[in-house]
Symmetry: C2
Subunit: 252 residues, 2 copies
DNA sequence: TCTATATACGAACAGTGTTCGTGTCAAGTT
DNA sequence: AACTTGACACGAACACTGTTCGTATATAGA
């Protein structure tokens, strides 16, 4: 059986399957670096994809635009990537690979888990809209498992029960992705959308206070609270809510 | 100024703007029911859109398919709807309108808020994938404000501080939408996707236990916990986590 | 040198949201 | 009763999207 000379697999389907398998113990990588003058690499594809997302947002990451950024046509990408979904998977994997996971410290598990979530948030927001892709991701990509493993280690070290820890990781990752998706949508709208679809906080506050007090008493009364939250106050609040809930459930 | 004869606005843009304004006190509806034999109504559009989503999923809700279900062309829809985003807004509004909000009972606020979230979850899952649209929604649609008002009333009656209540509502709605999106994606994949992208729990468990214990010790050790959760156990867990956190923060 | 083969890529297909222009038909006015 | 009016319906088209097919190319091994 013939084996390609830059990485160990012939077509991108096999490459994708390999990414989800446990890593082979005998890892002999890149036997000979390149074959032609400028062959497009998967790494190159991921890099430019992340560049497109960082500058134009995830919605702008189309196969054609990505191919254009690589000075080629869209068909060329399919030699390196199975799918658009596969490309998303690769991009999220790269993003997860850049997260640094701390050595678990039982005394500081709250700060540590908060720190990991904050890292994920900042990474998601650095690439606006990418959390949409993260929400649709299968949890078997090795880099994602690595993050999950790191979070699990922190919570277990903190004395959280295994079942609670496992479910809490799921809840945290889900919330962080949803929060970042909302923030990205808001920012994108306020950036390049024409009026009537953009609502900044002042506009929202004005609308809530203008609601009829008979049918919406609490909304108009507490409009300030509903629209409050500088920066990531809402994010911090929710994380503390969940982490405190975890700590309270355990005698740790 | 001329006024159309079936509802009070000329074009769908004005209709959309009116939906986000506080309701006019003098509401005189449908002066004369219909003008032509079978004119398409906005209500009709929303109904068939929900039908399409319920049977084929949100991804199948395209303007052309919706137009086809109404026996017309896609251009005809734009007389009733500004946008695809506007259609999504209308659909979510209808969905929210069907939620029943309980009279706040200070003694039972936990069960009440849990009940509302469960209703939203079931409504989202009844229309698979629609939570994707809900995540991108502006919070000024009157039906959404109505739900938010109802949840706020429950939490305030339960003695939760206004700021905590406001942020908790946001967190809960965000989590419910994200959870339902994930569940919908999973179900859709296991329904009509070919292999290699579908992961049921057994497959997941097998993969997690097969991971090398040196690099993924906790994941392989607690694979059962990571993949556990019959029905909506994960959902219930997270809701309890947040609600308990709210209750603990307040001396109620 | 010659063949084998993985890669590159132009062209095309089916699908999407959206707009333009035109035709149609009921209501209000003369 | 004839006429204007203006909202609606709708065919056709545009600019996109992801994806595939077939072919050309240039290198690795014989």
């Amino acid at each position: 059986m013939f084996v390609s000379s830059y990485d160990g697999w012939v077509n991108p389907r096999e490459r994708r399957a390999a990414r989800h398998q446990p890593p082979k113990p005998e890892a002999e990588a890149n036997p000979r670096p390149r074959r032609r003058k400028a062959p497009i690499t998967v790494e190159q594809v991921i890099d430019t994809a992340l560049g497109v997302i960082a500058t134009e947002g995830y919605e702008a990451l189309t196969m054609r635009r990505l191919a254009g950024a690589l000075d080629t046509g869209p068909a060329s990408l399919y030699a390196h990537v199975v799918n658009k979904a596969d490309l998303d998977e690769l991009v999220i994997g790269r993003l997860c690979a850049e997260l640094v996971l701390p050595e678990p410290d039982p005394a500081a598990w709250r700060e540590q888990i908060r720190g990991v979530c904050t890292q994920i948030r900042d990474q998601y927001l650095k690439y606006p809209g990418i959390s949409r892709a993260a929400l649709a991701m299968a949890p078997t990509d090795l880099e994602i498992v690595r993050v999950s493993e790191g979070m699990l280690a922190i919570l277990l070290a903190g004395g959280v029960a295994p079942q609670a820890a496992a479910w809490a990781i799921d809840a945290l990752l889900l919330y962080v992705a949803a929060y970042c998706l909302e923030v990205s949508i808001m920012r994108q709208r306020s950036a390049h959308d024409d009026a009537a679809w953009v609502f900044d906080r002042d506009e929202l506050l004005r609308r809530f206070t203008a609601l009829p007090a008979e049918t919406f008493p609490h909304t108009s009364r507490y409009a300030a609270e509903l629209t409050a939250g500088e920066g990531h106050d809402r994010f911090d609040f929710t994380l503390n809510l969940m982490i405190d809930g975890l700590a309270h459930g355990q005698p740790g």
